[in-house]
């Protein structure tokens, strides 16, 4: 850590001293999540969602491992092992299955809030670009894991979802179809695909855990950001992670788990689709194939391209869908404003909320059956998405006049905006500024 006032690790317990001399694990924990990690004192609740994502990753891994003790990865056995064995005969099997299926949804909910926090407060800006990009890698791995996991029960949506998503690859000319057949190990999702998806679904969460460690490590080098976007200057700006943020994370986690429990126990199938309770039938397509809700915005972008223009529409859809995530890797260079936080960027703030509304609209369009006005709405919303990141943000960051920043975090906490000194981090002088401050 780069903070000079961070409390150093001094083990009092002789066993801990012994251990620390040989393998500095206690020291690492102390410096990462204990009293040894100074954190800005002004964090709001949007900063809780990283830890929550870690909690849901743990829940998924634990429930997943025990479910795997009962699951059969065969095309004739999978559906029955989930809906016959696990849900009915395995002790507490129903609880583990519902915890796992709803845990996936909640993992995505907290991750999306975490990402939008990053977008609003400029968490992707220097020096945290790598934290942002590692986070996107985690997100891509999450999507792959979730997709493969949904195939495993081998219901109608499992099968047809696999068919559609692997079908993306055939959009690419020449290499597309061979890649698709290679991925599936066949010409349609079948035993080969199911077994390999099971293997990879078990593996990827541990890869995610590894990238999460890199993500946190990369964050702890400069330290956590904060809602003002102003850097930490001295000890007054921070509080030790333990006990302040362990307490805050702890209570909020209990609260989020409460919501998770209410959904898991009282509405466990609300976020799912009834068609996945029908065993997979390769000869009968469901009336409306939809992925799980967390993929709906991307599904909407995919389906928005209906016109061939040099390239076939299907290929445009696939390119745009992948592009919509890949462009996020460039965000630190698209948005070059030296002011991090949206709180002090009035123009950016309005466009941010437009983006949120846009993504919600895309989500709605992605999950609903297509008709003429939903298609049009989806096309408009998809167009805005690309325009927002690739045209609006660069322009806004170049021409916007940000609000004056507080000179330090503790200023903003202790005295509000009034006692600020010369505003920091601006490229242009404050409009109408006078020599004496109020």
């Amino acid at each position: 850590m780069s903070f000079s006032w961070a409390k150093p690790y001094e083990p009092k317990n002789p066993f801990m001293r012994w251990l620390d001399q040989r393998l500095p694990l206690p020291r690492i924990v102390y410096n990462a999540t204990g009293p040894g990690y100074p954190v800005p004192r002004n964090l709001n609740y949007f900063w809780n969602f990283g830890v929550l994502a870690g909690i849901f990753l743990t829940i998924q891994i634990v429930t997943g491992i025990v479910l795997a003790m009962h699951y059969f990865a065969t095309t004739d056995g999978a559906f029955n092992s989930v809906n016959g064995l696990i849900m009915r005969d395995v002790n507490a099997g129903w609880l583990l299955r519902y915890a796992h299926s709803n845990g996936a949804s909640f993992f995505f909910i907290v991750t999306y809030i975490h990402i939008f926090r990053g977008l609003y407060y400029g968490s992707y800006k220097a020096p945290r670009e790598l934290v942002w990009m590692l986070g996107l890698v985690i997100y891509l791995l999450m999507m792959a894991t979730a997709f493969m996991g949904y195939v495993l029960p081998w219901g109608q949506m499992s099968y047809w979802g696999a068919q559609v998503i692997t079908g993306f690859f055939s959009a690419f000319p020449l290499v597309g179809e061979p890649i698709r057949v290679w991925l599936l190990g066949g010409y349609a999702p079948d035993q080969a695909a199911l077994t390999r998806f099971f293997s990879l679904h078990y593996l990827l969460p541990f890869v995610i855990a590894g990238v999460v460690i890199l993500h946190i490590w990369a964050l702890h080098i400069p330290g956590s950001g904060n809602p003002t976007g102003v850097d930490v200057k001295d000890e007054r700006d921070t509080l030790p992670f333990h006990p302040f943020y362990t307490a805050k994370d702890g209570w909020f986690a209990a609260f989020v788990l409460l919501i998770y429990a209410v959904v898991t126990f009282y509405a466990p199938n609300y976020l799912g689709h009834p068609d996945n309770y029908i065993p997979a039938n390769p000869l009968a397509t469901p009336a409306h194939i939809v992925p799980e809700w967390y993929f709906w915005p991307f599904y909407a972008i995919l389906r928005s391209f209906t016109i061939d223009f040099i390239l076939p529409a299907k290929l445009w859809g696939v390119l745009a869908m992948f592009g919509s995530i890949l462009l996020l890797f460039f965000l630190p260079w698209l948005d070059k404003s030296p002011v991090r936080s949206g709180s002090y960027r009035p123009v950016f703030k309005r466009f941010f909320w437009l983006l949120v509304i846009d993504v919600v609209i895309l989500g709605y369009v992605g999950g609903a059956p297509l008709n003429w006005w939903r298609t049009a709405l989806g096309q408009f919303a998809a167009a805005y998405y690309f325009v927002h990141f690739l045209v609006v943000l660069p322009l806004v960051s170049a021409f916007e006049t940000p609000d004056p920043l507080p000179s330090s975090i503790s200023e903003s906490v202790l005295h509000g905006e009034e006692a600020e000194a010369a505003p920091a981090g601006q490229t242009k002088p404050r409009r109408g500024a006078t020599a004496t401050a109020g």
Binding site: R41, R88, Y98, F265, D275, S304, I307, L327, P394
Partner: protein, 306 residues
């Protein structure tokens, strides 16, 4: 680099806007006609069961047993219940001896091997077996049902939008095709092997009306008209699809109350820990409130004087 990205973004956006305009143009010039099912499809009727709601349970065992009786006397002729085992019937109030009898009396037997000759044969079901399906495989099922495949009922309420209400609506929804439909959509006459039912998605279902009222006689004299039969069998199917529902609700209550108390305790602990953090942070020197007030007064004096 930003220009390249901006250009790519503009290309996507342009194509999308062009698609949108052409899509709207096509729609306006060529409005697609509504289908019969768009106009005449009905949403499921409301059905109240003991298993509904956060405190729902399977306490109404009499209803569930009546529903099971309807399933075994009427529905099991065509529909399998493959994921349910005879031993599960304990959950709706049958004892071991009754279950043994239900299993061994079941009209379909379980595939087995003749112990002397090794030839394929069948044996009576045991309580540990799952309900044997009425047809050996899909081909046999279709052959006996005009090429329609009667679906397995083990998960039916979970596999249909509307759940038990949908099932109840289908069972009670058979009617003659309304004259209005034939007038507006002359091509939508119900085909010969199908039956009109507005609660079914495309209005014509392959299953002939299985219940009309009076098929089953209940030993305790409970009403056996169509409405009651349909309710009872819907309730039974809800149980069959999730026998652990009552456990789920009970465990849910315990977990929810626990987490509520835990959240409150944890929140109070958090408030207490943070109470010192902001309030008791005392700043000395120029940022201390009384020094700042001093500085302000001094400045005001200067302002007045200068």
């Amino acid at each position: 680099m930003r220009f390249i990205l901006g250009f790519i973004g503009s290309v996507f956006a342009a194509i999308l806007l062009f698609s949108m305009i052409s899509n709207l143009a096509t729609y306006i010039s060529n409005k697609p006609a509504p289908l019969a099912s768009d106009v005449f499809h009905k949403e499921p009727k409301e059905l109240r069961l003991a298993s509904d709601g956060a405190f729902g349970s399977f306490k109404n065992q009499a209803q569930l047993q009546r529903g099971f009786q309807i399933y075994s006397e009427v529905c099991s002729a065509c529909h399998s219940l493959k994921l349910v085992s005879f031993r599960d019937l304990k959950g709706i109030g049958y004892n071991e001896a009754e279950i043994k009898k239900i299993a061994s009396d079941w009209k379909t037997q379980v595939p087995s091997i003749n112990p002397d000759t090794g030839e394929a044969s069948t044996r009576k079901a045991l309580p540990s077996d799952n309900f044997p399906p009425p047809f050996a495989n899909e081909v046999a099922a279709r052959a006996a049902n005009n090429n329609a495949l009667p679906p397995d009922l083990s998960l039916m309420p979970k596999a249909r939008e509307g759940g038990a209400s949908y099932i109840f609506s289908i069972l009670t929804g058979y009617q003659n095709q309304p004259a209005e439909l034939l007038k507006r959509f002359p091509d939508a006459k119900t085909p010969p092997n199908l039956h009109y039912n507005p609660y079914f998605a495309n209005l014509n279902i392959a299953m002939p009306p299985p219940l009309k009222g009076g098929e089953v006689t209940f030993a305790d004299g409970s009403p056996n008209d169509l409405q009651h039969e349909a309710q009872d069998v819907a309730a039974f199917l809800v149980w069959a699809s999730e026998p652990t529902l009552a456990n789920r609700h009970a465990a849910g209550l315990a977990v929810t109350v626990f987490l509520l108390v835990a959240s409150i305790l944890a929140y109070l602990a958090y408030q207490q820990i943070w109470h010192d953090a902001k309030r008791a942070v005392r700043v000395t020197g120029p940022l201390e409130p009384k020094n700042q007030a001093k500085a302000k007064r001094a400045k005001a004096k200067q302002g007045v004087a200068g």
